[in-house]
């Protein structure tokens, strides 16, 4: 009769209480228990070898391990192990215990659980699904993988892109060169080829436009702050150039124009070539933000200080708050001002 069958059956309630002892901590005990649970007929020496392979330091003797096995009713008879075919894992119907002895980026896992609880990705998947459905009738001949993805696949692949920066992966090739915990985080790992393909297919269905509503919260603030962010780009092809201010160079790149509301929530983003000045497209941009979010009052930095711009905003019935450039005035003498308020620190408004 196989040894394993003589053991009491393990049920969901059979996972033992792991109380840290003097020699073994809870995690070590759980790992040993898991290995024994998978193969109750495994000799203790082999169990210790397996534990050593998982790089969890355990300094106990075979005798000590045997005592634990007896306590957990996972001990085997003396003598050589029986035939492999005869030893069956106990309770193979359902895993009672899962131990991941080495888990990197623990906080990211907790954050992912929190996001799942909040259903944080539901709007994203809905937007992507909507974009796919909108793409189908306009491009009936298009037949690529994304069109056939289930929601679960869309979710997992987008999550892989989403969590990448938190895992220290910036470019997609990092998925091949960096050790990452996608397997424990999402239940499966991805290579850069899959995600590059996924991103390319998102590009085909114009997912950027479709994902904007996922950025907008249910309650948007009254004001939108707008600012540009330049990123340098290196290419051998002659490209349009602009002043990439962070590097102080005239070079190729891109200009992200990003809007935040007054609570700091990112609302909208649009990219422009670096040679176009913000003032050339800001009115159109604000129209799009207003359409997407309903915000009609904008705060923009001092780069925009023209009367023409104020008139354009006024014409659109938008509010614009800005700062006058220091070179445009000579202090108080440039204005006929009325005093409204004197603050405690002596500042006059």
């Amino acid at each position: 009769m196989p040894l394993a069958l003589s053991k009491p059956p393990l049920t969901a309630s059979a996972s033992p209480p792991f109380e840290a002892g003097r020699k073994l901590g809870t995690v070590e005990m759980a790992l040993v228990w898991k290995l024994l649970h998978e193969d109750p007929a495994c000799p203790s020496r082999v169990v210790l070898a397996k534990v050593a392979q998982s790089q969890v330091p355990i300094a106990v003797s075979v005798r000590h391990l045997n005592r634990l096995r007896a306590k957990w009713h996972l001990n085997r008879r003396k003598g050589r192990p029986g035939q492999t075919a005869l030893s069956r894992p106990v309770g193979s119907g359902g895993a009672v215990l899962q131990v991941t002895p080495h888990l990197s980026f623990v906080g990211v896992h907790l954050f992912a659980h929190w996001l799942d609880q909040q259903e944080g990705f539901a709007p994203v998947v809905a937007c992507l699904r909507q974009a796919i459905e909108a793409h189908k009738p306009t491009h009936p001949d298009d037949d690529f993988a994304l069109v056939h993805h289930r929601d679960q696949t869309l979710l997992r692949r987008f999550q892989a892109l989403f969590f990448a920066p938190l895992l220290g992966i910036e470019t997609l090739t990092g998925f091949d060169t960096h050790e990452h915990p996608l397997q424990t985080l999402l239940g499966r790992g991805y290579h850069s080829a899959t995600l590059t393909q996924f991103l390319g297919q998102l590009e085909r269905i114009d997912a950027a436009g479709a994902l904007i509503p996922a950025l907008v919260p249910q309650q948007v603030g009254q004001i939108a702050y707008v600012d540009g962010h330049m990123i340098a780009y290196w290419s051998r092809v002659p490209m349009h150039k602009g002043k990439i201010t962070m590097l102080g160079r005239i070079m190729a790149g891109s200009q992200a124009v990003i809007a935040h509301d007054d609570t700091g929530q990112g609302l909208f983003v649009e990219y422009h070539p670096p040679d176009r000045h913000l003032s050339q497209f800001i009115v159109d941009y604000c129209q799009k933000v207003a359409l997407a979010t309903g915000v009609a009052v904008f705060v923009i930095d001092r780069a925009a200080n023209a009367v023409a711009l104020a008139r354009a905003f006024e014409h659109q019935d938008f509010g614009l708050l800005c700062m006058l450039d220091d070179n445009e005035h000579y202090g108080l003498e440039s204005f006929e001002a009325t005093l409204e308020e004197t603050r405690k620190d002596g500042t006059k408004v």
Binding site: L97, F111, F162, A214, H240, D262, V297, E314, L324, T347
Partner: protein, 264 residues
């Protein structure tokens, strides 16, 4: 001097020391915001955007380029230069014509003085003619130089723009991540007594390794504390308590978070 049809309203802040700051807004801004609040609202721009950009660069890969596709189009730089040169050429042409006219008039005056036998006036007019001649030559020279520049520009060129579609998708990803992290921090800070920054949480909790044990009734995450100084360990312990208080769940099972001291 107030400009005609200028819709701007100004709010001037004159601090006791330092330079005067001038804010302006269109009339629509006055409805939701009192003008005296404008400086404060404007100042918050740094916290809302500049700092947000720094955070997104740091842990959101905002500065990473995605996608290599390029769209070849007209060379806008060349177009701008050409427009500028065309304007300059037009102005130079007018100047040459004007100077030519002046020279002709002056030449007529010189001829008149010579025929009438003027002495001193002839000399004055000849001197003025010389000056005008030089100005005409200069204007012609400038026009020729501009024409040379214009012809050197050659036929309309081509220049590439980036295809920003992938970049936009990934920036939206970054914004979604930043929004989610902000919301997570709001909930976490609600359970803590100590003020902790997002950067600190990322280093202290997100990037730490540990262990996960899942049983039939709960999931336990152990966070390694190896290498942490005592103050940071205390802070991590408080954060762990806060995480437990957030009532996190994995597939319906409660999540517990614990610290794990590993041997060095």
């Amino acid at each position: 001097m107030p400009r005609a049809d200028d819709p701007r309203h100004f709010v001037i802040v004159a601090p006791a020391e330092g330079k005067t700051l001038v804010y302006w807004g269109t009339p629509r801004v006055k409805a939701p915001l009192e003008p005296t609040a404008w400086p404060q609202v404007y100042r918050e721009r740094s916290a809302r955007q500049e700092n947000s950009f720094k955070r997104m660069i740091d842990h959101g890969a905002l500065n990473t380029n995605y996608g290599r596709k390029k769209i070849i189009g007209a060379d806008r730089h060349q177009q701008r230069v050409r427009e500028h040169l065309d304007q300059a050429l037009e102005a130079a042409q007018k100047r040459v014509e004007k100077q030519g006219q002046k020279v002709k008039t002056q030449q007529a005056k010189v001829v008149e003085s010579a025929s009438k036998g003027h002495g001193k006036r002839l000399e004055q007019r000849q001197r003025t003619l010389a000056v005008l001649d030089k100005a005409l030559t200069d204007a012609q020279h400038k026009q020729a130089r501009l024409a040379e520049h214009a012809s050197a520009l050659g036929p309309p060129g081509k220049r590439a723009d980036r295809d920003f579609r992938k970049q936009t998708i990934m920036t939206i990803r970054t914004l979604l991540l930043e929004n989610a992290l902000r919301a997570f921090m709001v909930v976490l800070l609600g359970t803590l007594q100590t003020q902790v920054s997002l950067e600190c949480i990322l280093r202290l909790v997100f990037e730490r390794s540990g262990t996960r044990i899942g049983t039939s009734s709960e999931v336990v995450y152990w966070i390694n504390t190896t290498g942490l100084s005592l103050p940071y360990r205390r802070l991590l312990a408080e954060v762990v308590e806060g995480l437990c208080a957030m009532d996190l769940r994995a597939q319906g099972k409660p999540i517990r978070v614990r610290l794990r001291d590993m041997p060095p």
